[in-house]
Symmetry: C2
């Protein structure tokens, strides 16, 4: 299949697919007239990229997963490098959740305090 069909089937744009290729994340065979040619395996790779970026992974973080699939593994996270990314991301997320929760509580407190001042005795 060519790039348009892969785009439709994967839910990405052709621009994104060419971009991934420019990063070396996705490799395409070329037909005699220079057009990119993909197969079902590529669709699988793109799907892996999508599902990971969809939950907030950076494109670079998806690289080990894609490589893992390329190496013949059944799933992208069956390689040590992928698992390492999972670990790192999990730590990042833990910290982020913690930080945001603290900020949220602080904002909530300031909001309540400000409301008390604006309408001191509303009821």
């Amino acid at each position: 299949m060519r790039i348009g069909e892969l785009a439709r089937r994967s839910g990405l744009t052709t621009r994104a697919l060419r971009y991934y290729e420019s990063l070396g994340l996705l490799a395409a065979r070329r037909t005699s007239n220079g057009q990119r040619e993909y197969d079902e395996h590529d669709l699988r790779l793109v799907g892996e990229i999508r599902s990971l970026t969809g939950i907030g992974f950076a494109l670079e973080d998806t690289r080990p997963f894609v490589q893992c699939l390329r190496d013949g593994h059944a799933s992208g996270d069956s390689c040590p490098a992928s698992v390492a990314v999972y670990r790192r991301k999990l730590a990042e997320l833990d910290e982020c959740v913690e930080r945001l929760t603290a900020v949220r509580d602080q904002v909530r407190a300031q909001l309540e305090e400000a409301e008390r001042r604006v309408k001191p005795c509303a009821r």
Copy 2:
């Protein structure tokens, strides 16, 4: 005081201060030779900006707080517009925390699953 001193005392860079001015967030008097001149009140405004951006508020979000201080209020969040920003931010944070928590749990689950596959019987 001039921009250098305000930068030191506020913990910002001169570049940031000029940038804030270019956004109309901060106004400076000029001395006869064209240099920016600030006073303690400006330091207060800059402090308000800093404390808000420090917890993740966008610069534009600090505008109502700064305006509130300029209008003579004792604190930047004593105005309806500021409170509205609090509310909006709180909603954003709630959603963000929720989303990130879900993602974290998902990543955690995938990590555990992947580890089970990599070393199935380690002990």
